[in-house]
Symmetry: C2
Subunit: 199 residues, 2 copies
């Protein structure tokens, strides 16, 4: 019943849709992701997906949500293996940017206008985002305590600004504004030097 192709019911359409959508996203970007093509890819009629996702926006939110969870797990693993040292922060930054580059389309969904401005973020998505940010602020606090980051403001504020800086870097690389890879790691190094406290 699961792998059969002649069944009227698909079996696990919800997940299949997410998988196929992920693939299209990676290969063709959001612009190449349409509900019709998606349905076709999965081998189902145009409107079948609407029984699993309210609309396209809901599908995208689901993808972004998965992105948040993966990113959070990704980074959590790193933090567990090291203290609040400057080296850990550096690695954190590199991981963050690597994630943004390796999953640029999902990253765009997570933080871009498609969902947050043009569309409407699902409640679940908002929760995921908020949770991720809280974890981030928590670690910022630790880095402040250990003197890696400046203590001239609350961890919330420092969390906001450092994240904004990281995000800006990620966006410029992702959106094709900095097309050349040249000097990219130098930029990151300089950015880290800027973010860390100068004693």
């Amino acid at each position: 019943m699961k792998t059969s192709k002649k069944h009227y019911h698909h079996g696990d359409l919800n997940q299949s849709l997410l998988n196929a959508a992920s693939l299209i996203l990676r290969n063709e970007g959001v612009e190449g992701l349409s509900m019709r093509k998606l349905a076709d890819q999965v081998g189902v009629s145009r409107t079948a997906p609407y029984h699993h996702f309210k609309d396209k926006n809901a599908l995208l939110c689901s993808l972004a949500e998965a992105g948040f969870k993966q990113q959070q797990a990704d980074l959590q693993a790193l933090a567990d293996n090291s203290g609040a040292t400057r080296e850990a922060f550096t690695q954190y930054v590199y991981r963050y940017l690597a994630y943004a580059q390796n999953h640029s389309e999902i990253y765009d969904l997570m933080f871009g206008r498609t969902i947050w401005k043009a569309g409407e973020p699902t409640a679940e998505l908002q929760n995921s985002a908020k949770s991720t940010f809280k974890t981030w602020v928590y670690w910022i606090g630790l880095w402040q305590e250990s003197g890696v980051l400046t203590q001239n403001n609350t961890s919330l504020r420092i969390g906001q600004t450092t994240w904004a800086s990281l995000h800006g870097l990620a966006r410029l690389m992702i959106d094709g504004v900095y097309p050349d890879q040249t000097g990219q790691s130098e930029m990151v190094e300089q950015m880290i030097r800027n973010l860390c406290s100068h004693q």
Copy 2:
């Protein structure tokens, strides 16, 4: 011949299209800007705009280009009236962010994926962007000389990172990821503190 409505030829369609597009952009965002609606608004047939812009992408590039020029003039005026002081830098940052907020849709066109990744930036647009960035780097150099910004790297590198930070802040505000205005100016203040050299 100019203001008449019964003429077969419009008279100044090119500019009229840009004006109308600007208006739609401001009121409804890029999502609400379609070539057909645009043509309708100007009172011309669907495909008339294609005699003035190769395609929608070209139109958007033109809008973004105008944005660059306006921004550059905007900021140039500021710089002319003040030296390379920290106060000038602060004002610069505020102006930059204000521009991003007050012209969020154009800002998005100038630096967003719509043109730079999904579409193809016109040669003219690329020139405008490059020119603006060069001016930016030039001023960064002056601020470095006067000790406002750090001298631990080239003006190009510092220009890239400070701009990335600013850009990140702008994006988060624009894209609706930071919906509340609360503490926004505090964020900016902290960001400036971070960017300026700590003597």
